[in-house]
Symmetry: C2
Subunit: 109 residues, 2 copies
DNA sequence: TTCGCATATGGCCGTATAGCCATATCGCCA
DNA sequence: TGGCGATATGGCTATACGGCCATATGCGAA
């Protein structure tokens, strides 16, 4: 096996981003932000959890570098910082769609 | 806020994929598999953890639909099932690079 | 079939995460 | 400045995850 060239630290950084993506509520938030910026109150209503919970989710997404917040009066408007999510999920969703078939094939062996 | 059209189940499926990506060792494994298929023994050496630990990591990746295993004799060769990871991380790594600057900007306000 | 290597699984423990409630902070406005 | 709505943070508990060891399973060779 060839010597690995990628430093371990990079995998840790990436893992942090992936962790931020690893929750349905946060993915729902990101999905909403694809459309337009939203304030915390809107996102709280969307997710349907406690406001403090949503605030923590946003904090996770922000510290992962995926979103940014901009205060305007008493509201904070969050928006996406990255453009690659949509394309990524398109690809992944395709894999998920094929998943049933793949498993069926795997069972045949 | 416009009514959400994406079903919650999809976010849960995506979250499962993201969870699978949310560990440096698993990312290291995926990175190695970009290059070529590898057997468990090779990946165990690469990761530097217990064989049982690596096997569990592989199981997580497999059930997320990201890799597939193919037994050949007593070895099992794992390979990627998806092609979108490389591009995704390219984009994300870019964000991570800018992260320092972004934070510096954020502090200025 | 029996042994031995490669891989998978079960069990256990320590740590991390999500959730809520309570409360602190921030900005506006009177 | 004091009060109020919006957002963030601290504290707590329950659950999930990662790690290892021990052990089970799969497969080829003798």
């Amino acid at each position: 096996m060839r010597k690995r060239k990628t430093p371990y630290g990079l995998f840790e950084s990436r893992a942090k981003v992936a962790k931020a993506l690893a929750h349905p509520s946060r993915l729902m938030i990101l999905d909403a932000l694809e459309e337009a910026p939203h304030c915390v109150c809107e996102l709280t209503e969307l997710v349907g959890a406690d406001q403090s919970t949503v605030s923590k989710h946003l904090s996770v997404l922000k510290s992962a570098g995926l979103i940014q917040g901009r205060r305007e009066g008493s509201l904070v408007w969050y928006s996406l910082s990255v453009s690659c999510l949509k394309g990524f999920w398109n690809c992944i969703d395709g894999v998920l769609k094929n998943d049933v078939d793949v498993r069926r094939q795997a069972l045949k062996k």
